[in-house]
Symmetry: C2
Subunit: 338 residues, 2 copies
DNA sequence: CGGTTACATGAAACCGGTTACATGACATGG
DNA sequence: CCATGTCATGTAACCGGTTTCATGTAACCG
């Protein structure tokens, strides 16, 4: 603040280059001088100015976080953002990296596909993490063009310096089917996520695949689409329950929708799991709390955040090729609903 | 990236000063020149470098977020961080401000009270928001010394450029008591937050105050302390239920603890709300989902985030005195548990 | 018509660091 | 004893902007 590197240099009677070296390549400066500089620096509370350093080195030690909180756009909400954020920030912090939550560039017009790209470039962030939960926002996709290492969550995102991390959604779908089959169900239904999105498609495909392996087919009228949120699960469930014959088990591709489905089943006078079994996906906090407990396919939330951090840090090291996409295993958590 | 302000100036045949003015004080440059510069800038994709700008102006357009995700420390978890974050980021973004999640300074030693203060100074953030959920971490308290505008959440935090925003915890406590009294309860108990913390104390005080106004006293053995988390609510409830005579209603100062309490009551074979009524605090997502629905004192999550943003922005305007602390009203949400 | 004034622009210092290159001291070895 | 190498340090250019001050031009006024 009040003290610049020149001030330290002056007081020590050395050049600014030497002071700089004390902090960046201490091994090249003599023991005596180094100690002198450190002492004086501590005494007057010198702290290197990161903006100046960034300007000179073109490294900011900041990772940009692109997460659009504009409520009018899809994807701004995330079922377990906090867990991911904690893991992400912890892993980055451990390497001295800061996380810059980027505001969309205002000079780019709110609907410009450039609004994040511009912000990324202006701020010299070393890398970018994209949390977008399935929206196909052009402004997000444009980031693949940035010459900046980029890792996306739950979004197929590849390029010279791009990669992504995702849960094994298809595998999770298979686990769900497997579990229902083992419980003896032969007639099952499903509530999917919003349909063109990648996780929704994968979960459904995996689910269907394992059913097929057991000779069970999923009829069209036993598939209802939701939008991840609770109300859509409720609505979809009512729709499914109106069919006859009725399925004996339902796979809801997201826990919130599963809770909505449970409510609909409850209102229809059905007992869970006796009259109808329900299995969800995600393992959000409420899954454990809503009676009789929601059986679900758990995502490794901490793993996702950590993997994202590791992927971006690997690219910062500047290895030639971007790391392979990471697919994290899901796990079945059995509770009372099946 | 590839293009600096000098490059734009060269191509336009004007000085760098003029280009700079086009973007900062466009009104002082002639119509013709301005348009020329804008055209060329757009053509070659010029974007001003924020680090250089920060260096020159000492304004970074970044607000620092201090939120310690170190699991070994208290306070890293927050019941509704995401809602606050969305509101905070939206409000800041609308003014073109970015949110920098600061990593603790590694050169300060992990236990130094300086680890956030140093990071704040190095990065030239214009202001700071502290999310700390009641820990008295010296590194957080040290921020009051920074010459940087600072607003804390749920933490009494004042100084020349410091203020805070909080829910009206005492008022919420009073609302809880009022509600129970109106429901006819005369013998009540409570599960508090971790005790020396400010929100915990306020909620208890408010609760007790309104009880007293109706001639009801809260016996010592009807008060059990928790730590905000579910398990502690469960444990505390079992303890309370072992007393006799038993209270007919319990105020849990946090919803997670309330859910734990509900579970304990359920296991004890008590019906809610007939045998025992339970009221919580916060209105987290699960409150609406766990049967029979948790009556609770809702915090205005979006309001908190927005107020924090407004407070910090007000200080950035540089008004002489920091804004008064903001206390947001809570509201009673009646569900099935009372 | 000379003197103000307003306006648009340019020159150059400055913000606070990093780093390529030069320099000088000293030790080493043939 | 001189050429060579190593080590510690200094000099100065550079990163990419902003801003003060000076300058030149044209409009305006009495």
């Amino acid at each position: 603040m009040v003290s610049s590197i020149r001030e330290v240099a002056r007081r020590c009677g050395v050049s600014v280059a030497t002071v700089s070296r004390v902090f960046n390549t201490p091994e090249v400066v003599s023991r005596r001088t180094r100690q002198l500089v450190l002492d004086i620096a501590a005494e007057i509370g010198y702290l290197p100015n990161e903006s100046a350093r960034t300007l000179a080195t073109k490294k900011s030690n900041m990772v940009g976080l692109v997460w659009d909180t504009d409520h009018r756009r899809p994807g701004w909400r995330h079922p377990f953002l906090q867990d991911i954020l904690v893991a992400l920030k912890s892993a980055l912090s451990a390497q001295g990296l800061h996380l810059l939550m980027l505001a969309p560039d205002r000079n780019a017009g709110p609907d410009s596909g450039q609004r994040f790209l511009r912000a990324v470039h202006r701020h010299n962030v070393d890398g970018v993490v994209v949390i977008d939960n399935g929206s196909r926002d052009p402004a997000v996709l444009a980031l693949a063009d940035a010459a900046v290492p980029c890792v996306a969550l739950d979004l197929r995102f590849t390029g010279p310096v791009c990669t992504y991390v995702t849960s094994d959604n298809a595998g999770g779908g298979r686990q769900a089917a497997q579990h229902l089959i083992e419980r003896g169900h032969r007639h099952v239904a499903t509530i999917t996520g919003p349909m063109p999105t990648w996780p929704a498609v994968q979960r459904l495909d995996g689910f269907r695949e394992t059913l097929a392996a057991s000779g069970i087919t999923l009829a069209d009228h036993d598939v209802a689409a939701g939008d991840w949120y609770l109300d859509s699960g409720y609505t979809a469930m009512r729709q499914l329950l109106s069919r006859s014959p009725r399925a004996t088990a339902v796979f809801a591709a997201g826990d919130e929708m599963a809770v909505g489905a449970m409510r609909a089943a409850h209102e229809a006078g059905l007992r869970i799991p006796d009259d109808i079994a329900i299995i969800g996906f995600d393992d959000i906090e409420v899954a454990a709390l809503v009676p009789p407990g929601l059986t679900t396919i758990a995502q490794d939330k901490t793993g996702i955040g950590t993997a994202a951090a590791e992927a971006v840090m690997a690219m910062l090291q500047g290895s030639a090729a971007p790391p392979e996409p990471t697919t994290l295993p899901t796990s079945l958590i059995v509770r009372g609903s099946t």
